[in-house]
Each structure stands twice: as C-alpha cells, then as structure tokens.
C-alpha cells in the first residue's frame, strides 16, 4: 500500500510538472491574472460604494470561467499525452496498478488547480485589500468633512476569510470537474471528444437547478424519479456559486455547516468519479 501511495505521489508530481510547462496553462493563468489585475481600470467608471463588490465579482467570475476550461482541457491533454506518446505503456509495464496511475494523474491536476486558484485568489485578495484601504480612508475623510453621513459601511467590506473559503470550494469544484473529465477520458479515444463531452457534462452540472425548478411540480412519478436520478448522477455546481455571499456580509450569510456539507459533497463525488474512471480504465486496451 505504501509503495502504491509513493507511486501516486511520483506520478502526481510529474503530471503537475508537465502541466505547468504547458503553454495552455501559462496562457490561461496569465490571461486570468491580467483580467483580475486589470479590474483596477474599472475605477475609471464610477461604481460608487459597489466598486469592491463589482471587482470581486469580476475576479471570482474569471476564476470560475478559466478554471473550468483549465480543469477540462488540461486533464484531457495530460491523459492523452500519456496514451498517445505511449509513456503510459512504459509506466504500466512497471509494477504500477492502473488505479495508481489514474490517482496520480488526478493528483497532478488537483495540484495544478490548487496553484491556479491560489494564484488568482492571492492577486484578487491583494488588490481588494489595497483598494479597500484606499476607499475606507477616502470615506473617512469625507465623513470628517461632513460630506458623508457614515464611515465605510460594514456590508461593503471584504471578508478575506470568506475569500479563502470560496477558493477552497472552487478548487474542490475544479477537482470534481477534473474527475468527470477523467471518467470520459478513460473510455474515449480522442482528446477532442473528451473535451467536448466533459464541457457538455459541465453545462448539465451548472444548469441542472433550472431543470429541477422547472420540473419541481411534475406529477408523473417516472419524471420525478428521472429528475431525482439526474440530480444524483450529476453534481450540482450551483452549490459552489456562493462567492459573493462568502466575500461580503449579506443578510443570509453562508452557515459553516453548509460549507462543510459542500466539502463532503465534493469529496464523495470525487471518489465516485475516480472509482468510475478506474473501473473503465481497467478494461482499456493500451
């Protein structure tokens, strides 16, 4: 068991090193960083007291958008580069179990997504911290001059611990998405097919709440069971769309129990999709 864990660690480390050398990863990271860094230019527009909320939403949106692309494309690329270059052949001819290979690949992608989320969160957090300091000072001056009735309001202040929790949730969502992509890659023959199908599943996961709402009142037990099944098979990615609620104090703050439940929900789906990927990969002829 310990040798399998060591192998998973080594495969994961090499997968991560391979991924960070990919132009696609570097391009997306730079683009996302540029967008978040460029959010400062929105100061040219007068958003008033909502400036921080707008910037935070823009940064979190960039993270979600580019992170989803990265999780799908890089997972598919890293898997198929091993198959097409036949490095998987060399590796699996050694005393490596197929479940260790899939776990190592997934670990490498999880590390990559961790770096991606950490980088973007650090930049966004740093910018929000700096800009919040400026806005508080300006508001304080206005308050002292009698041109504002209150100091900078609490509900507009950034909660950096909430930003960190959001980063954790987004990372888990990306790992779930990577695990879904790994399931598709384990039986598909091409990179393109894997990417296309994985994005389609991502859309289903992202939008399944619409189907749930639309069909909430159906009376047919068959349809009800079908909707229930869809809700179980595909994880509900709307659960992770709580960035704004975590970063800013709202009337309905996210309870700690809900965050823990989301973490558990993610871990269960990661394990289930990992098991499916292993099951499918076991019968794959390399």
């Amino acid at each position: 068991m310990s040798s399998s864990l060591q192998q998973i660690g080594q495969i994961g480390r090499l997968t991560f090193l391979e991924a960070v050398r990919q132009r696609f990863f570097n391009f997306l990271v730079l683009l996302a960083l540029a967008l978040i860094g460029g959010a400062g230019f929105f100061r040219q527009f007068d958003f008033g007291p909502q400036e921080l909320a707008f910037t935070a939403n823009f940064g979190l949106g960039s993270m979600v958008f580019f992170g989803a692309i990265l999780a799908v494309v890089v997972t598919a690329q890293l898997f198929f580069s091993e198959i097409e270059n036949r490095t998987a052949l060399t590796l699996l001819a050694k005393p490596v179990r197929r479940w260790s290979f899939i776990a190592g690949k997934l670990l490498g992608v999880a590390l990559l997504m961790l770096v991606f989320v950490a980088l973007l969160t650090a930049l966004l957090g740093g910018y929000l911290w700096w800009r919040q300091g400026q806005l508080i000072a300006i508001r304080h001056q206005l308050f002292l001059a009698g041109r504002a009735t209150t100091e900078f309001p609490d509900y507009l202040r950034v909660h950096f611990d909430g930003l960190a929790v959001n980063a954790l949730l987004q990372w888990l969502k990306f790992v779930v998405l990577a695990a879904i992509t790994m399931v598709v890659a384990s039986f598909s023959n091409t990179n393109m097919y894997t990417v296309a199908v994985s994005f389609f599943i991502y859309l289903i996961c992202q939008l399944q709440y619409i189907a749930r709402d639309a069909w909430a009142n159906v009376e047919s037990p068959v349809l009800q069971n079908l909707i229930w099944l869809l809700g179980v098979v595909f994880p509900n990615f709307q659960l992770y769309s709580v960035g704004e609620m975590l970063v800013f104090t709202t009337k309905t703050p996210v309870p700690a129990g809900a965050v823990l439940a989301a973490i558990g929900y993610s871990v269960v789906y990661i394990l289930v999709f990992y098991a499916l990927a292993v099951f499918s990969f076991l019968s794959r002829e390399i």
Binding site: S3, Q6, Q7, Q10, I11, L14, L17, E18, R21, N85, R86, T87, L89, T90, L91, L92, A93, K94, P95, V96, R97, E285, I286
Partner: protein
C-alpha cells in the same frame, strides 16, 4: 529444471472492431517457453501478433484464451512485473526531464529507495554509455540516445527479464552495434532477454533462440544454430584457393560420395564492413577507427 522466464500456453487474443464487434484474431493458440538467461528473438512480419504477444507478457492485455506466466507467476500480477523491464518501440519520454531525472523517476516508480536511487541511476547510465549526457534534457537527445535512455529505464530496477521492442529502429549501425553489445552484457549478467526486431542480422548475432510468428501463429521455434543449419551441407573457408586445388578437392569428395556444390568468394556482412571503416562505438569514443 528451473522455472522458465516466460511460459505461454495456448494463448489466443481476439480484438473486437467497430460497432458490430467484428472479431479480429491477433494471436492464435500460441505456446512457447523462454528459458532463464536465454536471449530469444521474436520474429514475424508486421501484423503477425508480436506486439500483442509482448503486451500480454507485460500484463497490458488480457488473453482471450490461454495463459502467460513470468517466472511461474501470472504475467499481469504486480510481483511478476517487478521482474520485467521493458523498452517500447520508438520510445518517447518526458522531454523536460534530464536523463538522470527520468531514470530516477522510473527507479522510484519501481520502488527503489531514495537513498539507493542515485547510485543505481548512475550505474545504469554508465552501462548504457550516457553518463556524459545524464544532465542534459531528454528533449535534446538523438534517436540512439533515446533508445539507450529507454534501455536504462528498463533495467534500472535490475529485472530478471528484459523485453526490447525494436531497440535499433532508426538507429545508425554504430548505435545498433552498441545496443547489441548491451544485450550481450545483459546475458552475461544473467538476465533473460526477449528481443523483437526486424534487423535480422542483429537477431542472428545476439539471440540463442528464435520464435517466428505469422498471422498470429507459431511457424518456427528453436535454437538459432539449429534453425539456420542446412541439413547435409557444410561450408569451408580456404585461403589461397586455386583451380588446381578445386580439382583435387572434387576428386577427394567424389571418392567419399560427396559433391562440391559451389565455390564463392568469401564476403563480409555489410554492417561488419561499415563498422570496420567507421570504427566500433569504443573506437569512436577514442577517436581511432
């Protein structure tokens, strides 16, 4: 009698093609054994089932029928694969790693401890003649160097059985000679080698035994000397041969009921001539052909 390195019994492998699942039989009722410390050449035209057979031996494919054992263990078991080293055809490795890092990675995968790894890696790099290029990135290696680093990763965990798939594909005669020498060195070290190559001169040069496949079936197997020997014929190599000598020899042979079939000028193999003119790998290193 010791356990054979490889024992294949009634191996059949079918592939299902297309949506209708049309059956393609790649290997058909194949049985053979490879004794310990033997160098076996697995020959056959393209599509004869060599690669499928090798993949079954490596545990990468499951047989449809029959079984395959390595030193008495099922070939797809992890303990069996600890005993096997494999060099794939036209190997491709992680280009961003140096040769030393690459071999170290595979050593780690094979369970060699962190403390033991540097020495083991240095030893195999020395064995394949890549010590000088060990800290260069694999992406900068020539075709011959890639084959040699592939061989290094195959033997880094000191396996008892080494499987080489076209180890000289695309390699110049000097590189091919170096790889032949490495195969002989592996045999001297007590390893069993399964060599799959289209370079028949090399197979004849380094192998003890041959297995020849065609259309998934075994068509010949045995010791190289036995298979290549022509029944009832012998060769003589004579220096300063003259027509008068020939007449006398023919008379002697006739008295014994034998017959001289033909007299040809002795020829040297082309690869031998090339190496004589260019120099062996050792001579190349010294700069003296």
């Amino acid at each position: 009698m010791s356990t054979p390195a490889i024992r294949i019994q009634h191996l059949t492998k079918d592939f299902r093609l297309g949506l209708r699942g049309v059956k393609l039989r790649a290997v058909d009722d194949l049985s053979f054994e490879v004794a310990d410390n033997q160098v076996l050449g697995l020959l056959g035209p393209n599509g004869s089932g060599k690669s499928t057979t090798m993949k079954v031996i490596l545990g990468l494919l499951e047989p449809t029928l029959g079984k395959c054992e390595i030193f008495g263990m099922p070939s797809d078991s992890v303990p069996a694969r600890r005993l096997v080293g494999y060099l794939p055809e036209s190997p491709y490795f992680y280009r961003f790693l140096t040769g030393r890092e690459l071999v170290g990675y595979y050593a780690g995968i094979c369970g060699i401890s962190r403390a033991e790894r540097p020495k083991r890696v240095a030893d195999v790099l020395e064995l394949v003649g890549l010590s000088a290029a060990a800290d260069r990135r694999v992406g900068t290696y020539s075709k011959g160097m890639l084959q040699r680093i592939g061989l290094a990763q195959a033997v880094v965990h000191d396996p008892r059985l080494v499987i080489l798939d076209e180890p000289t594909a695309g390699v110049d005669p000097i590189g091919a000679q170096a790889i032949s020498e490495l195969i002989r060195e592996l045999k001297r070290r007590g390893k069993t080698v399964l060599l799959c190559s289209h370079l028949l001169a090399q197979v004849e040069d380094v192998c003890d035994h041959l297995v020849i496949l065609n259309q998934g079936r075994l068509v010949a197997q045995g010791a190289v000397g036995d298979l290549l020997q022509r029944e009832g014929l012998s060769n003589l190599a004579v220096e300063n041969f003259t027509p008068a000598m020939r007449a006398e020899i023919e008379a002697v042979l006739a008295r014994h009921g034998a017959r001289l079939r033909h007299v040809d000028p002795a020829r040297v193999a082309l690869d031998r001539l090339f190496l004589e003119k260019i120099g062996t790998p050792e001579e190349q290193k010294r700069g003296t052909p």
